[in-house]
Each structure stands twice: as structure tokens, then as C-alpha cells.
């Protein structure tokens, strides 16, 4: 069963004087349990593609199905709810709500889902332990390093039990040690719990960890390699 199914995706930006074909007919599917990297030079359309997959922006043309649902048919508030229940997000940096502690940030998304308090707390603590932050649950984001913040963001993304996690250059602002650490955690979650990760990057070490590498250029897929 495909978690994500994209057909003939096109995105044209008209905002600037010149039209930009950010995506130019992308066909793509992801299955449950994939650990996939989207790579390509800056401006090749990685962010645009991830935004489409996450229901954060609408394509100019094409179809997006997530778990069988055509998300382009959803009303805007239904779409927000759909994201809440199906998609985990990790953004480039400064992902967290600054006034909430690490624990509260992870709990926050479950509060939106109306998970009962007790269950929510237990799960948040367990997730923070999994990402190696069991001792920092009460720290606010400003007291955490960039790498720690990204690990909290991963914990938060998983807290909602999504069908898959999207991460747009999650390591772009991290040093090499934190990068390796974050990737190890993501890989472990993928292996042990079969969580689907789709992330963009132009860091070769990150690419090496991926089991599938999709390369974009000028809004088109120029290669799609699966390892193993």
C-alpha cells in the first residue's frame, strides 16, 4: 500500500516577474517504511515538493493522494486536521514553540489531537527518551542546542502517530556531530518502528544514510535509486 502517491505534479510560481516552473511533472510514490532522501542543487524544487506532499501548499496541476485520500479536495480546516492526524513535520530550524518546554512541545500536538493527559505525558516522555533527551524534558528551546531542538522536533513529529514524517533539510543548521546523531535516531526509529521518513538534504553524509535517493533538477526527477 502506498503512503504517498503523486501524479504529474506541477508548480508554477507567478509571484515574480518571470514565471518559475518549480516542479515540472513529478510522478512519485512512497511505501510504508521507506527512508528516502530528496536531493538536488539549491533551487531544484525540494522544498516545493515537500510542501506539496505535506499539504502546506497547492500544486498548479496534478494529484496528491495520502493514504488514499485526495488532499486537494479537502477544505482548508479539514486539511489542517488531516495534517495533524497523518503527517509529521520537521522543519529546517527553529521548529519549536519557544514558550513551551521540550515536554510541552511534544505534548502540544497530542493536545491538538485531544489525547488524554496521562497518556499524552507518558508518550511524550518516552519519545524524548528515545531521542536521547530524557533529562531535558523541562528545558525551553532557548536552553537547548540546535541538535537537541531538532531531536525534540522529531519527537514531536512522531507524537501524533503520523503515517509518515517529512523533514526539509533537518540538518542544514547542525554541525557534523549533531547531524550524525539526528540521522542515527531517525534511522533507528525507521528500522525498529517502521516509521516512514522523507527528507531533503544536500549533505552527502545524510544522503549516504538513505535507502532511497531521489534526485531533482529543475523541478524534475532525474534519478530515483533504491539501495539494498
Amino acid at each position: 500500500m502506498n503512503v504517498i502517491e503523486v501524479k504529474q505534479l506541477k508548480k508554477i510560481y507567478n509571484t515574480t516577474e518571470v514565471k518559475v516552473n518549480a516542479l515540472n511533472g513529478v510522478d512519485l510514490t512512497f511505501e510504508q517504511g521507506e527512508f528516502a532522501a530528496i536531493v538536488g542543487p539549491s533551487g531544484s524544487g525540494k522544498t516545493t515538493l515537500l510542501n506539496m506532499l505535506g499539504g502546506l501548499d497547492e500544486p498548479t496541476e496534478g494529484e496528491i493522494r495520502i493514504g488514499g485520500t485526495n488532499i486537494l479536495e479537502l477544505s482548508s480546516s479539514k486539511l489542517i486536521d488531516f495534517r495533524l492526524r497523518n503527517i509529521g513535520f520537521v522543519f529546517q530550524a527553529y521548529n519549536l514553540i519557544p514558550v513551551l518546554t521540550a515536554l510541552e512541545n511534544v505534548e502540544f500536538i497530542m493536545q491538538l489531537q485531544e489525547v488524554p493527559k496521562k497518556e499524552r505525558q507518558q508518550r511524550a516522555i518516552a519519545l524524548l527518551e528515545q531521542v536521547g533527551l530524557g533529562d531535558r524534558t523541562n528545558s525551553r528551546p532557548s536552553k537547548l542546542s540546535g541538535g537537541q531542538q531538532q531531536r525534540v522536533a522529531v519527537a514531536r513529529a512522531l507524537a501524533s502517530k503520523p503515517k509518515f514524517v517529512l523533514a526539509d533539510e533537518p540538518t542544514a543548521n547542525l554541525d557534523s556531530k549533531s547531524t550524525a546523531n539526528l540521522l542515527d535516531i531517525m534511522e533507528e526509529l525507521n528500522r525498529k518502528e517502521n516509521i516512514t521518513f522523507v527528507f531533503s538534504t544536500h549533505d552527502q553524509r545524510v544522503v549516504n544514510k538513505a535507502r532511497r535517493v531521489i534526485t531533482l533538477e529543475d523541478g524534475q526527477i532525474i534519478s530515483d535509486l533504491k539501495k539494498e
Partner: protein, 406 residues
């Protein structure tokens, strides 16, 4: 809801200085506005009190057309149905009869025209505390044959207590009225206008003097509360049909009423400007708050928070800042005003003179009615609602891809 409140509370303290400055502007607005309103209301109620207790009472009942003519020919004997109605109207605390007309008073070579008011001494005292103002001699006893004179009038006539005064007037249907009245006491009112006005004699004596046995020119009604006046008046009008003339204090003294109304509208403008400034202060803070947090708000909606909830949080933040200002304002103004209600600020110099010329005691009065404070809460709430349009439009119009890039 509780989560929204927690988030909002923490958010407003992210920029502590700005929140304090904004709340302070609300604080000063509330402080100024409550003081101003309290002083206005205190002054108005003092004005009304003066009118009411010294002169008209809250409501008067007359023979039809009395007020236009004000002569002894328009007096009446209250019928049983009238007395019954007064008794059965719940908010009428008591009523006091008066018989009023105009006389010439003379002593030696001095003659002055002045008002003469026949009163029931104990009842009148209950209504207007007349005996409080006796500075020389004594208050009238029931059935007394003497007269109480206002102090300036007594001075102008050159009389003192125990001197005898000649009163000449016209009685019922042109009958002549003349009699001698020993001066029992001198009245000095806090209001200078009253000190020129006239004299008081016993009601029975007055009825004899004017040849109108058992008749009154007016029944003065005391109503339990100022705010009940209009209701009581309408209920009486209904019950008594057109058999009597029923007037409230503002009809008998339109000057005072107009003065109050004009002053109120002037004050509304001042307060309107004040709150507009406060409103812009809050608005500026809201704009900055939203600009700083664009990315964060984008993330919240991206991961699954409804825009309605986000805008609710922003509303709570604005309301909280307003509330802090209002509560801080009350913390100062409520005790201070409560104190000033019982300890009016005395005026001196020119201001004092101006007050006295208008017939007022030279002091600044305050009022601590609940609506003065409730209104502040309401105004700040309305301001918050109006300002809320901005976060509402912004959160619903927010483009996620752009907000996430911010």
C-alpha cells in the same frame, strides 16, 4: 481552553517590557477615566442632591397647571385615592406637604419680596434636614407661629432672632393676607443661592395666612433611589390618570438637567480621545507581536493547529494585557475613589468662589457607583474586540509557505 490561556499568558511575557508599557497605557487610561467619571458623577449627584433636598424633591404632585402659574389659587386637598396610590407605590419612601407662595416681608424701613414656604416641620426635616442649617435660634415646632429666615434675607431686612416681621401677600382668590411673625431662627445653607431665597413657616399657620385650610400647593415625594425616579413617575402618571400634575426634579429644574447633559457629552469626547490613544497603543503592540512570531505561527498551523485556535490565543493575549491594565487601574482608583467619596477635596480661591456662585459647596465630590468601573471593563473589551480584527484577518490570510520561510 486552558492550554490557550497558558500559551497566551507565557506569550505576553516574552517581551516583558513591551507588555508592561502597553498595560501601563491601559492603566493610565482607566485611572484617568475612572477619576474623571467619578468626579463627574459625584458632582452631578451633588447638584441633584442640592436641587432635590433643598428644593424640589425627586417628584412633586400638584394641582394641574400649578407649575405654570404658581399661585395660591392652584392648591389642592389630596383625595383618598391619591393618598392610597402613594401608599401602594413601592418605591415612594414618604411624602411631604408644602404650601408655597410669594410675600412681601418688611421690618422697619426694609421691605423685600421673598418666597414663603409652609412646611410640616418634622416631615420637612426628614426630607431636607432643614434644622441642620439653623445657625441662630431654633427650628420650628409643629403649629409654630414664627418664621425661619434665610441668612442673607435676614441681613437685608435687618432682623435678628426674636424680632417681628410683617408679611403681606394675596390669599385664596384675591383675599388679602397679612400677619406678624416673630423670627424663630436664622438658616444658613451651604448653597449661597438658598441664602437669599425666603422664609419657612408652619404648614397650618400658612394655610390660615393664605385662607386655604387643609390645602397644599405640592406634595413632595421621596423616592428610594435616584434611578427609580422615572419609573415611579410613570407608574403614578398611569395610576392617577390626568387628575394631577406630576413632575420630576429634572422638569422642575431643567437648568441643572441641561448642565449635566452638556457636561456629560463634553466628557464623552475627552474620554473617547483618551481611549482612542490607548487603543492605538494596544494595536501597535499586537502588530509587533504578530510580526515577530510569523514563523512560529506558520509552524503551529502547519503541524495541525486550526487558524481559529491560533487567533483565539492572540485574542486572549490582547485581552490579558488589557485586563492587567484595567485591574491595576482599579487597584489604585477603587480605594482612592472610595476614600474621596467620604472625604471630598475642598476647593479654595477662585474655584471656590465660582462654585459658590452657582450655589454649590466648594468641594470636589466623587462617586463610586459600580457602572463607572464596569464601563472600563466593557470599553477595554470592546477595544480588544476591534483590535482583534487584525489578528483574525492575519491568521486566516496567512500563507503557510511564506510564514515558514520568515
Amino acid at each position: 481552553m486552558r492550554k490557550n490561556l497558558t500559551l497566551a499568558w507565557r506569550n505576553i511575557w516574552r517581551n516583558r517590557k513591551r507588555t508592561i508599557i502597553t498595560a501601563a497605557s491601559v492603566f493610565f487610561g482607566v485611572l484617568l477615566s475612572t477619576f474623571m467619571t467619578s468626579m463627574q458623577e459625584g458632582t452631578y449627584s451633588k447638584m441633584i442632591d442640592n436641587v432635590v433636598s433643598f428644593y424640589s424633591g425627586y417628584i412633586q404632585i400638584h394641582q394641574n397647571d400649578y407649575w405654570e402659574n404658581k399661585t395660591i389659587d392652584y392648591c389642592f386637598t389630596p383625595g383618598n385615592s391619591l393618598l392610597e396610590t402613594l401608599k401602594n407605590t413601592p418605591d415612594i419612601v414618604f411624602h411631604v406637604p408644602r404650601l408655597e407662595s410669594f410675600t412681601l416681608m418688611s421690618h422697619g424701613n426694609n421691605t423685600k419680596g421673598a418666597a414663603l414656604i409652609g412646611i410640616d416641620p418634622p416631615k420637612e426635616n426628614h426630607l431636607s434636614k432643614l434644622s441642620h442649617w439653623v445657625v441662630e435660634g431654633n427650628y420650628l415646632k409643629p403649629g409654630d407661629d414664627g418664621i425661619l429666615l434665610a441668612v442673607n434675607l435676614a441681613k437685608n431686612l435687618g432682623v435678628e432672632v426674636n424680632d417681628t416681621l410683617v408679611l403681606i401677600s394675596q390669599g385664596y382668590h384675591g383675599a388679602s393676607a397679612a400677619a406678624l411673625f416673630p423670627v424663630r431662627g436664622i438658616l444658613k445653607f451651604p448653597s449661597p443661592a438658598m441664602n437669599n431665597m425666603g422664609g419657612y413657616i408652619d404648614l397650618k399657620t400658612a394655610q390660615n395666612f393664605f385662607s386655604v385650610p387643609n390645602q397644599y400647593s405640592s406634595l413632595v415625594l421621596m423616592v428610594s433611589d435616584y434611578s427609580e425616579v422615572n419609573r415611579v413617575k410613570h407608574s403614578l402618571k398611569r395610576d392617577l390618570a390626568d387628575s394631577y400634575e406630576i413632575m420630576s426634579w429634572d422638569e422642575m429644574d431643567p437648568l441643572t438637567k441641561n448642565m449635566i447633559d452638556a457636561d456629560r457629552s463634553g466628557a464623552y469626547i475627552t474620554k473617547g480621545i483618551l481611549y482612542t490613544l490607548v487603543g492605538f497603543g494596544i494595536f501597535g503592540t499586537v502588530i509587533m507581536m504578530m510580526a515577530e512570531r510569523r514563523k512560529e505561527m506558520g509552524i503551529m498551523v502547519a503541524i495541525g493547529m486550526q487558524r481559529s485556535q491560533l487567533s483565539a490565543i492572540l485574542f486572549i493575549e490582547t485581552a490579558l494585557i488589557g485586563l492587567i491594565g484595567v485591574l491595576a487601574g482599579f487597584a489604585i482608583s477603587l480605594p482612592l475613589i472610595s476614600y474621596l467619596v467620604f472625604h471630598p477635596i475642598p476647593l479654595t480661591g477662585e474655584a471656590a468662589k465660582a462654585y459658590e456662585e452657582f450655589g454649590f459647596e466648594a468641594a470636589m465630590y466623587f462617586s463610586v457607583q459600580w457602572f463607572i468601573f464596569a464601563r472600563q471593563v466593557l470599553i477595554i473589551f470592546i477595544l480588544t474586540l476591534v483590535i482583534y480584527v487584525y489578528p483574525l484577518v492575519k491568521t486566516y490570510g496567512m500563507k503557510l509557505t511564506r510564514a515558514l520561510h520568515a
